[in-house]
C-alpha cells in the first residue's frame, strides 16, 4: 500500500532508504498517511461488521446474501445464518473497531500528525521516534483484535462496554480467549494513544513558530491539542480498568465480580469515566476541521473565534463530570441522578455556541460548494440532530424509557457518523492535496457526498422511532417480542439504507486511490487558505518549511476589507506602508 502513497514527493525524502521513508518513518506526514491507510482499512472492517448486524435485523434468520455464509465457519453462521453468539460478537467488534481502530486513529493519528506541526510552523513532532512507535502499536493491536474472531469461542461478545460480570468469565458468554484478546489488544492500543498524545501536547506547547500565539492557532490544532489532553488523561484510566478486568478473568481476582465482594458497578464507573471524555475525543477534532473548512469555503473569518476556543475547552472540561448519565438506570445512587443531569445538559451550551458560530460563519459569506464544504455543513446539520436527541437522554426520567433502546443507537450514530465521520470526510477531502499533492476528483466527491448524506439519514433517522416504540438495542431478533414485530418493516428499510450507505463508500475509496495517482496536480495552496500548512509545498518535504515561518496574524483573515485578495496568509509579511505592526501581536487579531 505504501507504493501508492509515495509517488510524487520522493524528492523531499533525500538520502532516506525505502524502509525509512515508507515503513519505519519518523516523518509526521508519512506517519499520518500510515495511520490514514490503516484506519480506513479498519473503518471498512467495522463497516462490514455493521452490514452483517443489519442483515440479521433486516432479514432475521435468512442466510447471508452472495453465498457469504460459505466463507464464514459454522461457529459463526452455519448455512449463512448468523448465530446469536456471533451476533453479540458482531455488535461488540463493530463498535470496538469503529471507536478504537477507525475513528480515534483517523482523528488523532491522521490529523493530529498531519496538521499540528504544519499549522504551528514546526519541522516535525517533538518526539519523532515515539511518534513512529505510536503508529506501529496500532497494526499490532489491530491484528490481535482481528485474530480474536478465529480463536475457539469466537470474538468478545459482551459489548464494547464489556460490562462486568458478563465480561469477567467465559462462563457467562461462552467466549474465553476472545475476551482476553480483546482486553490485551486494547491495553496495547492504549499506549499508541498515550504516546501520540504526549507528542501532540508537547509539540503544540514547545514548537510553535515565532508569532504563533495561542490565539492565532487554527481551530483544527486547538481541538487536536485539547483532544490530546483528553487522551493523555482518559486512556490511562481505561487501561487501568482493562488490566483489572483481565486479572478478574485470568487470575481469579474479584475487582468487578460480586463473588469475593467485587463491585460490578465499579467497572461502569471506570469505563464511563474514560468513556465520556472518549466521546469528545471522537468529535472535537472533527469540530476543528469543520471550523477550518467552513471559514475557508465561505471566505469569512470564523464567527467568534475566541468563543470557539472557549467552547472546545468547556466541552473537554465538562466531559469529565457527566459520565453518570450512562448509569441512570444501573443502580447508581438516585441522588446522583440530578447532579449528572445538570452537568450533562450544561454541555448543550458550548455545543450550541459552536453550532451557532458555524452558522454565523456561513452568514453573509461567499459559499463555495466544494466537497469539503458539503461534508462540513452536513456535519453541522447532523450534529444538531445528535445534540438535540442527547437532551432526551440527559433527562433522567425520559432516559428510564429510552435507555438501551434504538433511540440511543440513533443518537450515538448521529454524533459519531453524522458528526465525526462526515467531519473526517470533510478533513480528508480538504487536506488531501496537502498530503498527496493532488486534488481529489470533485465529481466523484459530490456523488459520494449526496448518496452518503441521503442514505445515512434514511438509515439512522428511523432508529429514533424504533427507540420510541421501545425496541431494545443489542437484540439478535426483535421478533421474539410480540410488541416489536410490527417494527420489522422499519428494520428492513433501515438495513437497505445502510447497504446503500456502505456501497457509497466504495465511491470514496475509488476516488481516494485514483486521485492519489491521477488527480489534478494541486499547487501549494489550492483552497486560497491562510494556515501555515498551505505555505509549504504539497506534499511538504521532510522538515516542512524551507525556513522557519513567522506568523503575523490569525488564521481566518478572509475577505479583509483592506485587501484585494480574499485571503491573507498567516505568514505573509506585514506591508509596512499601510499597516504598521502593532506592538502587541495579540491585538492584531480582532477584539
Amino acid at each position: 500500500m505504501s507504493n501508492h502513497i509515495g509517488e510524487g514527493h520522493s524528492e523531499g525524502h533525500h538520502d532516506q532508504g525505502f524502509i525509512k521513508t515508507y515503513i519505519f518513518s519518523t516523518d509526521h506526514k508519512m506517519i499520518a498517511k500510515q495511520f490514514l491507510i490503516t484506519s480506513l482499512v479498519f473503518l471498512a472492517i467495522g463497516g462490514i461488521l455493521a452490514a452483517m448486524i443489519r442483515w440479521q435485523l433486516g432479514f432475521p434468520g435468512q442466510p447471508l446474501p452472495f453465498n457469504l455464509g460459505a466463507i464464514l465457519p459454522d461457529s459463526m453462521a452455519p448455512g449463512g445464518i448468523i448465530l446469536p453468539e456471533f451476533y453479540n460478537s458482531l455488535v461488540t467488534m463493530h463498535a470496538t473497531f469503529m471507536v478504537f481502530f477507525a475513528l480515534m486513529p483517523l482523528m488523532a493519528g491522521v490529523f493530529g500528525n498531519l496538521l499540528i506541526p504544519l499549522q504551528i510552523g514546526a519541522d516535525d513532532m517533538a518526539f519523532p521516534r515515539i511518534n513512529m512507535l505510536s503508529f506501529w502499536i496500532t497494526p499490532v493491536a489491530g491484528a490481535i483484535m482481528l485474530a480474536s474472531f478465529f480463536v475457539e469461542g469466537g470474538a468478545a461478545g459482551a459489548g464494547w462496554t464489556s460490562y462486568a460480570p458478563l465480561s469477567t468469565s467465559g462462563e457467562w458468554t461462552g467466549v474465553y480467549m476472545g475476551q482476553i484478546l480483546w482486553l490485551v489488544s486494547l491495553i496495547i492500543l492504549g499506549f499508541s494513544s498515550i504516546t501520540g498524545a504526549l507528542n501532540y501536547v508537547t509539540t503544540v506547547i514547545a514548537m510553535r513558530a515565532p508569532g504563533m500565539t495561542w490565539f492565532r492557532i487554527p481551530l483544527a490544532t486547538w481541538s487536536l491539542f485539547i483532544t490530546a489532553w483528553l487522551l493523555l488523561l482518559a486512556i490511562p484510566i481505561l487501561t487501568g480498568g482493562l488490566i483489572l478486568l483481565l486479572f478478574d478473568q485470568t487470575i481469579g481476582t474479584a475487582f468487578f465480580r460480586p463473588e469475593g465482594s467485587g463491585e460490578p458497578l465499579m467497572w461502569q464507573h471506570i469505563f464511563w469515566f474514560f468513556g465520556h471524555p472518549e466521546v469528545y475525543i471522537l468529535i472535537l477534532p472533527a469540530m476543528g476541521f469543520v471550523s477550518e473548512v467552513i471559514a475557508n469555503r465561505s471566505r469569512k473569518p470564523v464567527f467568534g473565534y475566541h468563543s470557539m476556543v472557549v467552547a472546545i475547552v468547556a466541552i473537554a472540561f465538562l466531559g469529565w463530570i457527566v459520565w453518570g448519565h450512562h448509569m441512570f438506570q444501573s443502580g447508581m445512587n438516585p441522588f446522583l441522578g440530578m447532579s449528572f443531569m445538570a452537568t450533562t445538559v450544561v454541555i448543550a451550551v458550548p455545543s450550541a455556541i459552536k453550532t451557532f458560530n458555524w452558522m454565523g460563519t456561513l452568514w453573509k459569506g461567499d459559499i463555495h460548494f466544494d466537497t469539503p464544504l458539503l461534508h462540513a455543513v452536513s456535519f453541522v446539520a447532523l450534529f444538531v440532530i445528535g445534540g438535540l436527541s442527547g437532551i432526551f437522554l440527559a433527562s433522567a426520567p425520559v432516559d428510564i424509557y429510552l435507555h438501551d433502546t434504538y433511540f440511543i443507537v440513533a443518537h450515538l450514530h448521529y454524533v459519531l457518523v453524522g458528526g465525526s465521520l462526515f467531519g473526517i470526510f470533510s478533513g480528508i477531502t480538504f487536506w488531501f492535496p496537502k498530503m498527496f499533492g493532488r486534488m481529489m476528483n470533485e465529481g466523484l466527491g459530490k456523488i459520494h457526498w449526496v448518496i452518503s448524506f441521503i442514505a445515512y439519514n434514511l438509515a439512522f433517522f428511523p432508529m429514533h422511532n424504533l427507540g420510541v416504540q421501545g425496541m431494545m438495542r443489542r437484540i439478535y431478533d426483535p421478533n421474539q417480542y410480540e410488541f416489536l414485530q410490527s417494527l420489522q418493516s422499519t428494520n428492513t428499510f433501515i438495513s437497505k439504507s445502510v447497504f446503500v450507505f456502505a456501497a457509497a463508500q466504495i465511491i470514496f475509496a475509488v476516488n481516494f486511490f485514483w486521485s492519489m495517482k491521477k488527480g489534478k496536480k494541486a499547487g501549494d495552496n489550492p483552497w486560497d487558505s491562510n494556515g501555515l500548512e498551505w505555505a509549504c509545498p504539497s506534499p511538504p518535504p521532510h522538515g516542512n518549511f524551507a525556513e522557519v515561518p513567522v506568523v503575523h496574524r490569525g488564521p481566518y483573515e478572509y475577505s479583509h476589507p483592506d485587501r484585494e485578495e480574499d485571503f491573507w496568509p498567516q505568514d505573509e509579511p506585514i506591508d509596512l506602508g499601510n499597516n504598521a505592526p502593532s506592538a502587541n501581536p495579540e491585538n492584531e487579531y480582532g477584539e
Binding site: 448465530l83 446469536p84 453479540n88 460490562y163 460480570p165 458478563l166 457467562w172 467485587g262 460490578p264 465561505s298 471566505r299 470564523v302 464567527f303 467568534g304 473565534y305 468563543s307 438506570q329 443502580g331 438516585p334 440530578m338 443531569m341 445538570a342 445538559v345 450544561v346 448543550a348 450550541a352 458560530n357 452558522m359 454565523g360 453573509k364 459569506g365 461567499d366 455543513v377 446539520a381 444538531v384 438535540l388 437532551i391 440527559a394 433527562s395 426520567p397 425520559v398 428510564i400 424509557y401 435507555h403 438501551d404 429514533h464 422511532n465 420510541v468 416504540q469 421501545g470 431494545m472 437484540i475 426483535p478 410480540e482 410488541f483 417494527l487 418493516s489 428499510f493 475577505s559 477584539e591
Partner: protein
C-alpha cells in the same frame, strides 16, 4: 413502517408525567431542529458563491454570543429542573409508597423469577410462591419490586409502565410502580446479558385485587399439593 414519535400508551401512575416531559422535550428540540436546519439551508442558498460576491468581513458579535449562550442555558436548565421533579417522584427513596405490595424478582440467564410472600405473609421465606417469566401484580396498588440477579447484569424493562432498572448481581435494588389497568404486558431484558439475551422476555400480568388473591391461593394450593 412505523415512524411515530408518539410514546405507546402508558399504564402506570407516573407514566403520564414522564410522557409529558418527553413531549415537552420533543416540542422544544423539534422547534430548535426545524429552525436551525431551515436557517442553515437558507444561508446555503442565499450566500452561495456568485461572480463578484465578496464575503463580509465579520469576526463575530459578543452580543450574539451572549444571547445564544444564555438562551440555551436557560432552556436546558429548565428542562433539568422539570426532569428532577419527575425523577424524584419515581426514584427518590423518600417518595417510595408506603403499604406497597412487595415482591422479589431475581434475574438469571435467561429468565425472570418472581417470588411472592406465602401464607406466612413474609417475603424471602421457605413458603414463598414462585413464578417464572410471569410477574403477577394487583392493579391500582403501588408495587415494590426488589430486583436482584444471580449471574450477570440484566435490565428489568416494562415498556408500557415506563419502568426500566438494572438487576445487578450482589445487590438488591428496589423499584416501585403502580399499574392503572389490568391485562398482560411485555417484560423485556434491556441489558446485554449473553447469547440468549434477545429471548429473555416475560409477561407482567396485572390482576384485579380479587383475581390476584385467587391466583395467590391457587399457587399456594399447587405448592402444597406438590409437597
Amino acid at each position: 413502517m412505523n415512524l411515530s414519535w408518539l410514546m405507546p400508551e402508558s399504564v402506570s401512575t407516573f407514566g403520564p408525567a414522564l410522557d409529558n416531559l418527553y413531549y415537552v422535550i420533543l416540542w422544544i428540540t423539534g422547534i430548535v431542529f426545524v429552525v436551525t436546519e431551515v436557517i442553515l439551508v437558507y444561508f446555503m442558498i442565499k450566500y452561495r458563491h456568485k461572480e463578484g460576491r465578496k464575503a463580509e468581513y465579520i469576526e463575530g458579535s459578543s452580543k450574539a454570543e451572549w444571547i445564544w449562550t444564555s438562551a440555551t442555558a436557560v432552556i436546558v436548565i429548565a428542562i433539568a429542573f422539570y426532569s428532577k421533579g419527575i425523577w424524584d417522584e419515581i426514584r427518590h427513596p423518600d417518595m417510595f409508597p408506603e403499604n406497597a405490595y412487595e415482591l422479589n424478582v431475581t434475574a438469571r440467564q435467561y429468565e425472570w423469577n418472581a417470588s411472592y410472600a406465602g401464607p406466612d405473609g413474609v417475603l424471602g421465606t421457605a413458603d414463598d410462591i414462585l413464578s417464572r417469566n410471569q410477574v403477577h401484580i394487583p392493579v391500582n396498588e403501588p408495587v415494590i419490586v426488589n430486583l436482584e440477579s444471580e449471574d450477570v447484569i440484566h435490565s428489568f424493562f416494562l415498556p408500557e409502565f415506563r419502568v426500566k432498572h438494572d438487576a445487578v448481581p450482589g445487590a438488591v435494588w428496589p423499584i416501585w410502580f403502580e399499574a392503572t389497568q389490568t391485562g398482560e404486558f411485555p417484560l423485556a431484558c434491556a441489558e446485554l446479558c449473553g447469547l440468549g439475551h434477545y429471548r429473555m422476555g416475560g409477561t407482567l400480568i396485572v390482576h384485579s385485587r380479587e383475581d390476584f388473591d385467587n391466583w395467590l391461593s391457587e399457587m399456594q394450593m399447587e405448592a402444597e399439593d406438590g409437597e
